[in-house]
């Protein structure tokens, strides 16, 4: 199994059309500035060497420079100034064209995904004109390779920033001011996103799992996500469901197909299908899930998830139920 914690987030390892443009621009800047740095360093070394050579010889009385050497100095200085301006302009023009390509309006048929920032997790909603076809999930985004995806970003509390470096640059989620960003993934893989605007105590633990996959696989995933939660199969899982809907869980979480319909916390309808919990902080295993339920404040101090009082049997039943939510 792929452990998403091992994935390196890198803007220089592009997996989308937009990120490729940005990476190319970055490399152009890198090589140009590296070349200039090397030239300046060479000139500096040359000046040192010449000074050291002059110092060993007889001291000379330097008189007024003659008109010829004066005009030579002026020519060198002005040609260097002109070169600097020309290089800066060239970079500006390349930058402009890159920006033009990245921000070209997306396809009208782009897949629409609404992302809502919370302290400290991502609410994800796959848009559809049919309300019953809308898919709600959290902290894990799947997109098809080769199809433009348009993200509508908003926040319910403070400013967050959506950033999947392998896909595109950052875009802020501003409360009361919806923003958009869009990109087209070019290769399949599992990537990682990160909140890129300081948003409070657990800002560093506000991550997301980003999966780009071939269209058929994506369609299958989406149709699975549209289903309501399956009826629990075992007695233990049934008991777990009863605990879920009768205890404090139901105050914040939703599980489609049950009475749990609150929207304060992440939608848990397909919790077991997700790779990570706690906004990409912990692997979705039975042990971490149990710890998270009993006292999330130890794992992520400040999170809205309150501690829960549960006996061992109740906890096991609840875990059985949550693990059945594929």
């Amino acid at each position: 199994m792929n452990n998403s914690a091992d994935i390196i987030q890198s803007a220089l390892n592009p997996a989308a059309v937009e990120a490729a443009h940005i990476a190319r621009l970055w490399w152009i800047f890198f090589w140009v500035t590296l070349l200039i740095f090397a030239l300046v360093t060479l000139a500096l070394v040359f000046a040192f060497v010449r000074h050291a050579r002059d110092a060993t010889s007889e001291p000379q009385i330097i008189g007024e420079p003659d008109a010829r050497s004066q005009s030579r100095t002026a020519a060198v200085v002005w040609s260097l100034v002109a070169m600097t301006v020309a290089i800066l302009f060239a970079l500006l023009i390349i930058d402009f064209f890159t920006g033009n390509k990245i921000y070209a309006a997306p396809d009208a048929n782009a897949l629409g995904i609404k992302i809502t920032g919370h302290q400290w997790w991502w609410e994800i909603e796959y848009q559809n004109p049919q309300p019953s076809e809308i898919v709600a999930t959290a902290n894990e985004i799947h997109v098809p390779v080769g199809k433009p995806v348009k993200f509508e970003l908003q926040s319910v509390d403070v400013i967050h920033s959506f950033w999947v470096p392998n896909m595109h640059g950052k875009k802020d989620l501003v409360p009361g001011h919806p923003t958009t960003t869009w990109f087209t993934a070019t290769r399949a893989g599992e990537f990682r996103g990160q909140c890129a605007e300081y948003c409070g105590e657990q800002h560093a633990h506000m991550r997301l799992v980003f999966v780009a996959e071939p269209a058929p696989q994506f369609d299958h995933w989406l149709s699975e996500q549209k289903r309501s939660a399956p009826e629990p199969a075992s007695d233990s899982a049934r008991r777990g469901r009863d605990i879920f809907v009768s205890r404090q869980c139901v105050m914040c979480h939703a599980i489609q197909g049950t009475n749990a319909r609150a929207t304060l916390g992440p939608d848990l309808t397909h919790l077991a299908s997700r790779k990570m919990i706690a906004a990409g902080e912990l692997p979705n295993t039975r042990g971490y899930l149990a710890g998270w339920i009993l006292n999330a404040q130890v794992l992520k101090p400040g999170t809205q998830m309150p501690p829960t009082q549960l006996g061992a049997d109740d906890l096991n039943a609840l875990l059985d139920y949550l693990e059945s939510l594929k």
């Binding site: 404090q248 105050m251 006292n295 404040q297 101090p301 501690p307 829960t308």
Partner: protein
Amino acid sequence: MLMLMSCKREERALVTQSPSLEMQRSRYEVNVASNGESARIKTWFDRNSWSMAQGKQLYDAYNCVGCHAHGGGGMGPPLMDEKWIYGSEPQQIYGSIVYGRPNGMPSFHGKIPDSQVWPIVAYVRSMSGLADQSAANPRDDHMKGPLPPSSVPESTPHEVSLPNSAEQPR
């Protein structure tokens, strides 16, 4: 000097120890032995603006607004006046939330954990000015109130014609 002022950060009520025993104890102390401990809880939460901000968020999230509105009341009694049917002390408000009250107030026992009830209590108290004014939220998260009269767009009065169905029967 300005930088020094920001040195001490306000303490936050994060529950980091194992919940079970601690919580049962606090409930017991509030309901039975409500003397020194309740005074401590009262001063602590009423002076902690982070808790009050959390309480406000939870007040919205748990739909207290549905009956009490933003303090003005509706189906439930208003919370921003000085009238308290079941008392204004923190432990009394705690009791109202956790155990419910006759004629409508549901019991949130087992639904809202203690660590969240106390911040809600502090916020409820702040609505009628009972919490420490230096800690109470100085502004709202949302825009509110009508526009001042000078900002209301001008409109010309026009004749209202009633539909036939609205006419008085003869």
